[in-house]
């Protein structure tokens, strides 16, 4: 079985940038945030984001459909919406499958 490892967060990413590249902790955290913000901004403008070797963040438009409140069983319309999906690159899939 896979050994359990903890959860990686912004702080961990910033820590690695600080350690490897020597930017201050605050700068490193700012850079992590900047990357996320750029991806988010592109997607908010309707663009997909493709990072070679890693994967693609792809937008999908969902049509309206009928849902049900699981607690009460009452049918409610689920409004049309845009969702974000992630498609890992073959490289990332292979790395994860190998473990």
């Amino acid at each position: 079985m896979m050994r359990s490892v903890g959860t990686l967060t912004r702080a961990d990413l910033a820590e690695t940038i600080n350690r490897k590249l020597g930017f201050s902790r605050a700068e490193s955290l700012g850079l992590v945030e900047a990357i996320l913000e750029k991806i988010c901004a592109a997607m908010t403008h309707g663009e997909n984001v493709k990072i070679s070797g890693f994967g693609s963040f792809v937008l999908r438009d969902k049509k309206e459909r009928v849902g049900r409140n699981p607690k009460t069983g009452v049918e409610v319309p689920i409004t049309p919406r845009r969702v974000m999906t992630f498609r890992a690159s073959q490289l990332l899939k292979d790395r994860i499958a190998k473990g």
């Binding site: 690695t16 930017f23 850079l31």
Partner: protein, 93 residues
């Protein structure tokens, strides 16, 4: 947006940084996430989303060309769940 466009966008906002520094930051960012997932761990970026992996059971598949049955081994696959803030921003008018 592709990787090179992400680098350009970051360079524009951070004129004090060299292009190769930005490139190294972006490399570390995605490599650390990939590495953690390869180790079977989880990556949580509040507001943006969370990456994790899921176990897929072995199954019987079929060669679509010949129709021949094949054994597909179990494996671990990547999974991403967008964060609440991200979901809301994508649907804000």
């Amino acid at each position: 947006m592709i990787r090179s466009e992400l680098l350009q966008a970051l360079a524009k906002d951070n004129p004090e940084l060299h292009n190769d520094e930005i490139e190294q930051v972006v490399d570390i960012f995605f490599e650390e996430i990939a590495q953690r997932l390869a180790e079977g761990g989880r990556v949580e970026l509040r507001g943006f989303g969370a990456f994790s992996t899921r176990e897929r059971d072995a199954r019987k598949g079929r060669n679509p060309r010949t129709g021949e049955p094949v054994d597909v081994p179990g494996k671990r696959v990547p999974y991403f769940k967008p964060g609440k803030e991200m979901r809301q921003r994508l649907n804000a008018e």
